[in-house]
């Protein structure tokens, strides 16, 4: 009977539909689209190592993901904080940087928070890469070299962290979850400074043992010399002069490095990865755009002033102090390639830079001096530039051979080898167009070396650490008119948010 047939047919049809709709196997197992997971990336370990290098670019100073490793926060906490540079820009712009400059920093300072975030973000990338490398199927030598490179960068990050904050949490593994990080005291409490230095030393020793010499390493990668130089600098801060001497001599005698004759090209693209370079952030292009440390040049670029009339080059931060400008010896060639001097002669000639760019005279410019080392030409015929002002192609020089020579000099001097120290020091002075030092005696040569470091490495993120390391910070800062409190201002405050998030288990630095 037809209706019955209809009834049965429809029943069957609907049963089939219901089943089809509900029982398709794995219908709900939808993989995440357009994003790889650790399981779906066949080249994970190697890619993660590149990602660790990429963290050298982190430069989010305002709470952005990844924090700040070499951006304005780094510039502020190394250069602006020192007697070599002022906050610059307009008085009202970024008062929190002004707080760093004037030692009014509070635990809520966003730039300080960005540094904490940035360095731990970088350390996390390193830990992730190390975890992936541990299980990666790569030839042992390759694997150890990659591990060495990652541990070099992790050591560099801890070295900056310990100098910024003193005691910091020792994090050398990847937490399995947020809960794991909350439960493990290592993530919540600050390890003693010695413990952190041990991490650094072990990481660098592994790197020294497993990385090739510069000539056998690919350009831009950490190599044996970079690890030796950084370990030397670590020992310099620990006043372990024998180790400083041994390591700097290893670098010097490796035959891989030399001073370049022309100081002025060191920070230009022409000087990228030159014979003097020990470790520097790389820059180039990616996805048809510039890639480099974010904002390094723009934050420090000359800024338009009241009269206007020109397209400025940046926000005008980190301006060299009059104190620095005045401190150079006459005839020091380094001054002209370190400091852009704005024309305030009233003759309206402006300032013509090496690439031909003319900055108008003072009434159109905000500040008196700018950091020449952070200048990147916008003329692509002079320096590579695809038009991304936020990522101008500037290699930030983190370790130079000149630094190694000065460390070697200092170690020699401290070990009583004053003549050897003077020889080393004079290599630097000669290149700078200066006569041999007239200083004599251990104390005099010590002062001379410290002083030479200031000019040789001016605005290269070394000065403040140097002052603290040598115990001169309070005296020099107060002389420069800053309200420096000894025993407090050698370190930055631990960000208050991080203290809150640890449930109060992170302690604060003295005085904050």
């Amino acid at each position: 009977m037809k209706p019955v047939v209809n009834y049965i047919l429809s029943g069957i049809a609907f049963s089939a539909l219901l089943l089809a709709a509900s029982c398709q196997k794995n219908f709900l197992d939808v993989p995440v689209q357009a994003q790889a997971t650790a399981a779906t990336d066949p080249n994970l370990a190697v890619n993660l190592v590149t990602g660790v290098y990429n963290s050298l670019y982190n430069s989010e100073a305002f709470g952005g993901a990844g924090g700040d490793i070499h951006g304005i926060s780094f510039i502020s906490a190394t250069n602006i904080i020192s007697d070599d540079a002022d906050k610059g820009s307009t008085p009202g712009d970024q008062p929190s940087i002004g707080d760093i400059d004037n030692f009014n920093t509070t635990p809520t300072n966003n730039f300080v928070a960005a540094l904490w975030d940035g360095y731990y973000s970088g350390i996390s990338r390193a830990n992730q890469a190390l975890a992936a490398l541990a299980t990666a199927s790569l030839p042992t030598a390759t694997k150890n070299q990659l591990i060495g490179e990652v541990r070099f960068i992790r050591a560099y990050y801890y070295f900056n962290l310990v100098r910024f904050f003193g005691k910091v949490p020792k994090v050398v593994r990847v937490p399995t979850s947020a809960q794991d990080a909350n439960d493990d005291p290592a993530f919540q409490t600050r390890a003693p400074v010695d413990t952190i230095y041990n991490v650094i030393t072990q990481d660098l020793q592994f790197a020294i043992d497993n990385l090739p010499l510069r000539s056998r390493a690919a350009v831009g990668h950490a190599n044996k010399g970079s690890a030796q130089a950084l370990l030397a600098k670590t020992y310099l801060h620990r006043k372990n002069w024998q180790q400083v001497q041994a390591l700097t001599q290893a670098v010097i005698q490796s035959g891989q490095y030399a001073l370049v004759p022309d100081y002025s090209i060191i920070w230009r693209s022409a000087g990228n990865n030159n014979i003097e370079s020990i470790f520097e952030t790389q820059s180039g292009t990616f996805n048809n755009s510039d890639i480099a440390v974010g904002g390094y040049c723009t934050w420090q670029g000359p800024r338009v002033g009241p009269r206007g009339g020109w397209t400025d080059l940046g926000f005008g931060f980190c301006t060299p102090t009059q104190n620095l400008v005045d401190a150079y010896e006459p005839g020091d060639k380094r001054r002209a390639s370190t400091i852009i001097v704005i024309d305030r002669s009233g003759r309206g000639v402006g300032t013509v830079l090496y690439d031909g760019f003319r900055i108008p005279s003072g009434d159109s410019v905000q500040n008196n001096y700018y950091n020449y080392k952070a200048y990147a030409s916008e003329n692509p015929a002079i320096e590579p530039f695809l038009g991304n002002r936020d990522r101008k192609q500037k290699n930030v020089r983190l370790l130079r051979y000149a630094d190694v020579l000065l460390m070697a000099a200092e170690a020699a001097n401290e070990l009583g080898q004053t003549a050897a120290a003077i020889t080393l020091l004079n290599q630097i002075r000669t290149r700078a167009g200066l006569p041999p030092t007239r200083s004599a005696g251990q104390a005099g040569v010590r002062e001379a070396i410290w002083n030479e470091r200031r000019f040789e490495l001016a605005l290269e993120h070394d000065r403040f650490f140097d002052l603290v390391r040598t115990g001169r910070a309070a005296q020099v800062m107060r002389a420069a008119g800053k309200n420096f409190v000894a025993g407090k201002h050698e370190l930055l405050p631990v960000p208050s948010l991080q203290i809150q998030l640890s449930g109060g288990k992170l302690d604060q630095n003295p005085g904050y």
């Binding site: 357009a34 994003q35 990336d41 590149t50 670019y57 993901a65 731990y120 994090v171 990865n273 206007g308």
Partner: protein, 1010 residues
């Protein structure tokens, strides 16, 4: 009906009438069909019961009969000389003799109240009288008369418990919040169901095509949508054809929009005075005084035309429509156009099998104004700079580092074109009168292309009156973006519907499956020529080309069931349960179970109520339900590798790298909302008064929030999305409608609704307060979502007054005698040192209310006098706060000021305590920027006139109505800014920063039926 009734095989009268009814022919009865309409408004009556009397027929224990469908239609096989009795709650019983008719058109006289309506309840319909949850129905015609783009916007003020927050920007959809805000970070959008297709956006739907909108408000009503129901459900039913004569309808209006409620800015002289004082250097006003808003705003043209054709036979019906909507907007260069086409068809193959489709196509073409920068810049730009002279722009950039807003708009060409096909098809098989199978397949295809072109211009005298500044674009930019979305849903349902004596039972079981896929691709090049015909990627400089693409995919699978039980038309029970599986959660938390139960008591049907003459209908309802929210990103629980973190070893082209930068919560689960609701529905005084009262208590728990974790854990943004917060909304809704009749010529109606809602975060469960609402460089956050306060509460410094002199400043000390604001000057704000530590910082902030209104209300009035009709709709909300973000953004001493600030600023002479001295902005977040958000607005006023039929019929027009309508006629607000109506995310809502200016619309229109 008569399938198994051999006694009726003898009746053969109708055999020849309809060959298609082959199955029915075996029963030898006469098939008839018909439509039942409301006698007063001619609307189809849905769910009316049609019973056969005249012969004492019994069919499987039931009286022979049926119920009308959503189009008011029914089909029956009847014996000869049958008499039909049609009953429907709210209508007088009608008795009709079939006689020789096979197609009947029956009119029911309304008896009493709105409770008679049939409401769509999700996967089915119910008589309003049988509903135990909270739902509200709004007729399409109520919405279509307003000159606005979307039905949701027209819904504003029409329904209690439904808050609509609209921006007025062309081509955008308003935010809809049903019974408060009950999520912080997951999506807050209500679910829209258009003819069975689930979607989040209905801007493609022509309002004129809508029959009804049913809003399901409480958890017991939305539980049938389970994991999608937490924010309420808006069900849209579009029009379908009705068998009979072809009907052609044209409805259209033409008008214009104009800016309303503009904030008056200082003119050149006022500006120069203020800024000279603030900056301490003399500013000369000069001869130019630019009103920047005047330069970027205009009166915009708007039109809306709709043509529909409907009709059909007993085998098939059709509804075809085309609509064209243009909204120029009030910002220069802005225009939105929408073309929409709809075809709804139903086919009756035989007594058992029916099928139909609903298909709509919409093309939205949006020329978007570059509002984000331009509108803010217009507020800040100095009036002493010319906007544009002889084709050259005034250089506000070189003067004050603010872009020229006219140039912002004119040098950007931003266009978005949406093509969208949304439709569904169903197959329905009803083998027995009480059993229906229905399979519904819906699809939503979206193809969205956007194109942004930025012209090349330099900061030289080719473009500007004077050179310099940072507003320039040395290389032209073209970026194209294409997003394709396909979302299908497939429902398979079985409905049982039987009555046994005094028991009536409807049961539903079914499954649904859906899948969503999104594919995105974008491309970018510089140096693309300025000629629009060359705005394609290949004309640009290939050395600058970049591209990107992404995708998304998720699936859901659900099992649903519902029972509606009615005992003796007095006691009602509804119970539902839905099991939802979502791919967006890890396997162990993938399934969620969402039950609900509702009970109802029709007191008016009790014997003890029969004597009274006040209430026609009185119904008490109570319900409880649990619903979920799975609107979280699909990658929320999967640890992914971030690609393209490249590094150029040795310079040149970089090597791609990657990193694992996010910690994910592997235990992510559903947001769950539980709601208890009690309501009373009543109709009284012979249908003149009707209304309802609802109270609800809604607790949402396991809400997803970003929990901050220590940076050392290695999460790049320092937050992990996890289930931590709980939010509670408690409220009271009141709806009252009065229909009055003064004479046959003059009738009127008054409807009002009000909603009181209290929103509060009741637990963060280990999560940290959410700080949000940052404005500019200086105000990093202005809101705090924290325990015991509404979501997104403003959290700012308390202004105590203004320092009048140095003595005030030195005497402002804390308990220890520390000077609290030693650096202040007379004329500066005096802030409260809340924690008494002797300084003003973030720890001194206090909660000062939120954008969540304490109450909102709507009032709808209508009067009909002979051929004239007049209606007014009002809407308002009270008890909330808004933040004057434009004023807060002011960060440069050269930024313009509001005219009122020029005159009310503190001077030692006037001693103002509320307005500081002339200043350069950069003020901290404080109560100075927090203002009352209360407003009341006449949303719409419409006057219509129906031309005499005798006249129109001469030109073959059945009926013709002309009307004059005004949207946003009048707004009363305390807020000094542009608009207190500010859509946004829950945690940063109510900040006026780049809000589209409020507009008024005036339009004339006509509605003709042929």
């Amino acid at each position: 009906m008569g399938l198994f009734t051999p006694t009726r095989l003898s009746k053969t009268l109708s055999f020849a009438l309809c060959l298609l009814w082959a199955v029915a022919a075996f029963s030898a009865d006469k098939p008839i069909s018909g439509i039942i309409r409301d006698a007063s408004n001619k609307e189809p009556v849905i769910g009316a019961t049609v019973r056969i009397i005249g012969t004492n027929v019994s069919t499987g224990g039931q009286n022979a009969g049926t119920v009308t469908d959503v189009n008011g239609r029914f089909s029956l096989t009847v014996p000869e000389n049958a008499t039909l009795v049609i009953t429907s709650i709210g209508y007088k019983t009608a008795t009709v003799t079939v006689g020789g008719q096979t197609e009947l058109s029956i009119a029911l006289e309304p008896s009493a109240s709105e409770l008679s309506e049939v409401v769509v309840v999700g996967y089915g319909t119910l008589r309003k009288s049988d509903v135990t949850g909270s739902t509200v129905t709004v007729k399409g015609e109520e919405l279509a008369k307003q000159p606005v783009l979307t039905a949701t916007q027209a819904l504003q003020g029409k329904a209690a418990g439904v808050q609509i927050i609209s921006s007025g920007q062309p081509g955008t959809s308003p935010v809809i919040r049903i019974r408060g805000t009950s999520t912080a970070l997951a999506g807050t959008a209500a679910l829209f169901v258009v003819d069975g297709v689930l979607t989040d956006d209905i801007s493609n739907i022509n309002t004129a095509d809508i029959t009804n909108i049913d809003v399901l408000k409480d958890a017991s009503a939305t539980a049938i949508y389970g994991a999608r129901g937490a924010n309420g459900v808006v069900i849209i039913t579009t029009k379908r054809g009705v068998a009979g004569k072809m009907t052609i309808n044209y409805t259209g209006n033409v008008g214009f929009r104009l800016p309303a409620n503009l904030v008056e800015m200082a003119n050149a002289v006022e500006y120069a005075n203020y800024v000279s004082t603030a900056s301490g250097s003399l500013i000369q006003p000069g001869s130019i005084s630019t009103d920047w808003y005047d330069k970027i705003l205009r009166n915009g043209f708007q039109q809306n035309h709709g043509l529909s054709i409907s009709g059909g036979s007993d085998k098939s019906t059709y509804f075809l429509s085309a609509g064209y909507f243009t909204d120029q907007g009030i910002v220069i260069d802005n225009i939105y156009k929408r073309l929409s086409i709809r075809a709804n068809n139903d086919f009756t193959f035989n007594k058992i099998v029916k099928a139909g489709i609903s298909a709509s196509y919409a093309n939205g073409d949006n020329q978007i104004a570059n509002l984000n920068t331009a509108y803010n810049n217009a507020y800040r730009a100095a009036p002493i700079i010319a906007a544009k002279e002889n084709g050259k722009y005034g250089n506000t950039s070189v003067y004050q580092n603010v872009g020229n807003p006219v140039l912002d708009i004119e040098k950007n060409n931003n266009k978005a074109i949406d093509n969208r096909l949304l439709g569904s098809a169903y197959l329905q098989i009803q083998p027995l009168s009480w059993l229906t199978f229905r399979s519904n397949m819906g699809g939503d295809w979206i193809n969205r292309n956007s194109r942004v072109y930025v012209y090349q211009f330099n900061n030289d005298t080719t473009t500007f009156i004077n050179p310099g500044g940072n507003q320039r674009n040395p290389n032209s930019i073209l970026s194209l973006d294409n997003t394709r979305i396909f979302h299908w849903t497939w429902d398979n349902l079985i409905t049982f519907n039987r009555a046994f004596g005094k028991h009536a039972l409807t049961a539903l079981v079914g499954t649904t499956a859906e899948q969503y896929t999104l594919t995105n691709f974008s491309a970018f090049r510089r140096d693309v020529p300025a000629t629009p015909s060359l705005w394609y990627i290949n004309t640009g400089n290939a050395n600058t080309s970049t591209n990107s693409g992404t995708g998304d995919k998720y699936a859901r699978n659900s099992y649903i069931s519902r029972i509606n039980y009615n005992y003796n038309e007095k006691y009602l029970l509804t119970a539902t349960i839905r099991a939802d599986g979502s791919s967006r959660f890890p396997a162990r938390n993938r399934w969620g179970y969402f039950p609900s139960v509702g009970v109802g008591w029709l007191l008016s049907n009790e014997a003890f109520m029969q004597g009274q003459r006040i209430f026609d209908v009185l119904k008490l309802r109570a319900s409880w339900g649990r619903v979920g929210n799975d609107r979280v990103p699909s990658d929320s629980y999967t640890v992914t590798v971030q690609p393209n973190l490249a590094y150029p070893f040795g310079g040149g082209v970089a090597t791609p790298g990657s990193a694992i930068t996010q910690i994910k919560d592997p235990n992510l689960r559903w947001e769950t909302t539980e709601e208890t609701s009690i309501g009373l529905d009543f109709g009284a005084l012979q249908g003149r008064l009707s209304g309802e009262i609802n109270v609800y208590d809604k607790k949402a728990r396991d809400l997803l929030i970003n929990v901050k974790i220590p940076s050392v854990a290695g999460d790049a943004d320092g937050v992990v999305l996890t289930n931590a917060a709980s939010i509670r909304n408690q409220g009271l809704e009141l709806t009252l409608n009065w229909r009055g009749r003064v004479s046959d010529d003059l009738t009127y109606r008054i409807g009002g609704n009000a909603t009181l809602n209290r929103n509060s975060v009741i637990g963060l469960n280990g999560g940290q307060p959410i700080l949000d609402g940052g404005i500019g460089a200086n105000q990093q956050y202005t809101t705090r979502t924290d325990n015991g306060h509404p979501v997104g509460s403003f959290y700012v410094l308390q202004v105590l007054g203004v320092f009048q002199n140095d003595g005030d400043i030195s005497s402002y000390v804390n308990a220890n005698g520390q000077r609290i604001q030693p650096a202040a000057s007379p004329g500066d704000f005096k802030y409260q040192d809340t924690n008494g530590d002797g300084r003003i910082d973030d720890n001194d902030r206090v909660f000062v209310g939120s954008y969540q209104p304490k109450a909102y209300f709507g009032l709808n009035l209508g009067v009909t006098y002979r051929s004239f009709d007049f209606s007014v709709d009002l809407y308002g909300n009270v008890g909330n706060q808004v933040y004057n973000g434009k004023r807060a953004f002011r960060q440069n001493v050269l930024d313009n000021i509001e005219k009122s600030m020029a005159y009310s600023r503190w001077t030692s002479a006037n001693g103002s305590q509320t307005e500081p001295a002339a200043n350069g902005g950069n003020l901290p977040p404080s109560t100075y920027f927090v203002e009352s958000g209360s407003f009341a607005r006449v949303n719409n006023a419409t006057l219509g006139y129906a031309l005499p039929a005798a006249l129109t019929k001469k030109v073959f027009i059945e009926s013709l109505r002309v009307f004059l309508t005004a949207q946003n006629v009048l707004t009363l607000q305390k807020f000094s800014g542009f608009t207190a109506e500010l859509p946004g995310n829950p945690t940063s809502q109510g900040i006026e920063l780049n809000a589209y200016p409020t507009t008024q619309t005036l339009a004339v229109g006509l509605n003709a039926n042929f």
